[in-house]
Symmetry: C3
Subunit: 307 residues, 3 copies
């Protein structure tokens, strides 16, 4: 990572990803044992600029910075901010770089983080830009896969709403760097968008699409489940049918291989039955927790670059 | 306190309470003198999960954790959170335990804190669960009473809205452990609920009820005043009559004993005339301030238990 | 500054101002070089009580306190607070002084900060009280002017909405202490209020008023631009005419002297063309950034006074 900013997963080479994940593993180990961290940033202040609501991404970055010994300043909601007075994003981030050593930005407009990064000298991390990218989520997904199943010779099934989930698009793109076998499972109406399929094809990815999970379940190392949003469906019956078809429960897992790892970016609604929460297969809470060491590693690399 | 969580005042024995209050006194003294604290938690991060608004409880826990050298992460309001996307409380707290070393939870549903505590391994503190419990408020009330009047051979009058105030119910329950003489003073319509009276009776408490404050005022060591909420009354006249009857002012105090201690959980509206704020009797701001050392002690005991 | 509180710019003598600015310069230098700060407050907790929305003032105070090694507790929005339950400001600040070592207060009511300061023993900083004062903004404006142009023998033009801007009124008052030549440029409808003109006259200030910027531009060392708020105008055409007339762009600056410094309290909307952002004249982002060292200096002086 010779970059000063992280705006898109696509900017990371396989070597970049591995460097972040290796560093994350060091932080993870130190957090678990209470040993000294590999790096600390006690004088560092990180700005959190969330133009859209977020619980887990924001808390996770905040925790990461505080675990590093530093602190955050929070721009607060858009209602309380200069945005309401008509200030441009370029102005806001130029003011905020005078306060903080780095900026984490979530914004409803695709491309917002890249634009912001061109106006400031401190590192900018994209924490979601509309239908665009959310690269730190991809890094924590990759970290979770590597810990649970390994990234070499991986066979992964990605199931649910593949049309609207930016998480899925970024992860799939990143997995092409690792030659993963990818199976996409969804109802016809929620297929992966043509543009993503095209990009994966161009990258030489090994991709297959399905409408039934049963067909591929036994082959999978990892099953990545996503939330199917009720509001995507014109009528309730249609939603119930689709949601029911892809719900993961003990019976589903009985048909899977021995070492399946089940992931979900959370929050879940009904996609995964709580009865499997305590099984060895369930990795979604671990996945959420991995947000902290992965973001510590990311901040460490960007901040040390920048010094 | 061999418990890992604090979900209800009732789980604390007299010895547990005294242990917290003794520890609080140590923190209180150290804060006042600037001497080193008896314990510090510089690497510790506490999660604040408030599903209902709060100023003073939240600021008080936040201050306590920061005075201990640690830090907090705040889930933010419910509007900005995954709750809106339909996430269950059990899922939310399991995600958050991956970020933080402890969870302070306020939730509108009675029993929420106990339920949360069954899903996570980090300590959970109940900061109010609907009409249920608010045990750290009870501890700071007990601390204030002990500092001002002592907990032995105590005669206390509790006045105002005794029907809806969870603060009163918890305090009364806790005081049975100290054999306090309790006088409950309220209009007929705001009497202590039958269930609480029953519990106090079962615990062998020395309890009497009154509709006039004058009858008992001279005997009291402590007068605990609570807010009478306007919205409890069908018409304004009725409210004015009741509110006026129980307002505490200089004239009221002239009829009291020499060493009366006046307490109030705050915020107050008209229950206590500001003219007595600067008298020696007034203890309600001190009571609010005691929230910090008491919550430091509580966090200290839970976090050190947990290590 | 022998005061314990900062409630109005007018309470600061020239010597007081210089003391704050000198101290700010020390903090500024230490922040830039990474050298040890001239003072740190690692155990100090500052309360942020904002009864009105704010991004930059609040973030700036928060950053200042955190850069000093301390921390903040935030009262949160008014909706989430005891204010809604009818608590008086006097009660709220008396509770909060039990949590924090200082209070930064923004409140819609003129005089609120002064009133609050009379009820508490910890330092109170006025961060804006309605149409009243915002003295820390004035200090950072003075600091910026001193760094860029010097405060001796200064000729300044203040342009835009001079009627409603409390920033302008405080700055003008403070500049009388430095015998600055002040030119006020505005449409007739947004002239400086009679009361402010009277005060400046009483203080023996050298003041002239204009409706055209061209007349005075060549003489100016500093051009201080303020936002003209659309909602002040009965109709859109009127607004467009006025806003257009006072927009600062490259052409405007071509008519100015060689070393003009352009300032703006931000947020801007259309008052300054972005084409001049990267010129040497533009000082408004620097001005915003100066909020941090100036507020560090201010907090340092108040907190060290108070010990």
């Amino acid at each position: 990572m010779r970059q000063d900013h992280l705006v898109a997963a696509g900017q990371l080479s396989r070597a970049d990803v591995e460097r972040v994940l290796d560093r994350a593993a060091e932080f993870d180990a130190a957090l678990a044992t209470g040993d000294p961290l590999p790096a600390r940033y006690p004088e560092t202040v990180l700005a959190l600029c969330f133009y859209e609501p977020s619980t887990r991404t924001k808390m996770s970055f905040e925790t990461a910075m505080k675990r590093l010994g530093g602190d955050v300043v929070d721009m607060g909601g858009v209602d309380a901010s200069s945005v309401k007075k008509g200030e441009s994003l370029a102005d806001t981030v130029r003011v905020i770089q005078g306060y903080a050593d780095g900026i984490v930005l979530r914004h409803p407009r695709e491309g917002a983080a890249r634009m912001a990064s061109e106006f400031v000298d401190v590192p900018v991390v994209n924490a979601g830009d509309g239908a665009g990218q959310h690269p730190s989520q991809t890094l924590l997904d990759l970290y979770t896969i590597r810990e649970a199943a390994g990234l070499d010779d991986l066979t992964i099934g990605i199931v649910g709403d593949l049309k609207y989930g930016r998480t899925v698009h970024s992860l799939a793109t990143a997995l092409t760097e690792f030659d993963a076998h990818m199976h996409f499972v969804s109802p016809e109406s929620l297929r992966l968008p043509r543009s993503v399929r095209f990009d994966l094809h161009e990258a030489g990815a090994q991709v297959r699409e399905h409408t039934e999970l049963d067909e591929v379940l036994p082959e999978l190392d990892v099953l990545y489940v996503t939330r199917i949003q009720r509001e995507r469906f014109p009528d309730e019956d249609e939603y119930e049918k689709v949601a029911g078809q892809f719900q993961i429960d003990a019976e589903t897992l009985a048909a899977a291989g021995d070492d399946l790892t089940v992931m979900h970016p959370l929050p879940r609604v009904d996609e995964i039955d709580p009865e499997i929460d305590d099984t060895d297969d369930a990795n979604y809470f671990e996945q959420a927790h991995n947000g902290v060491p992965v973001r510590m590693a990311l901040l460490d690399l960007l901040l040390s670059n920048h010094e």
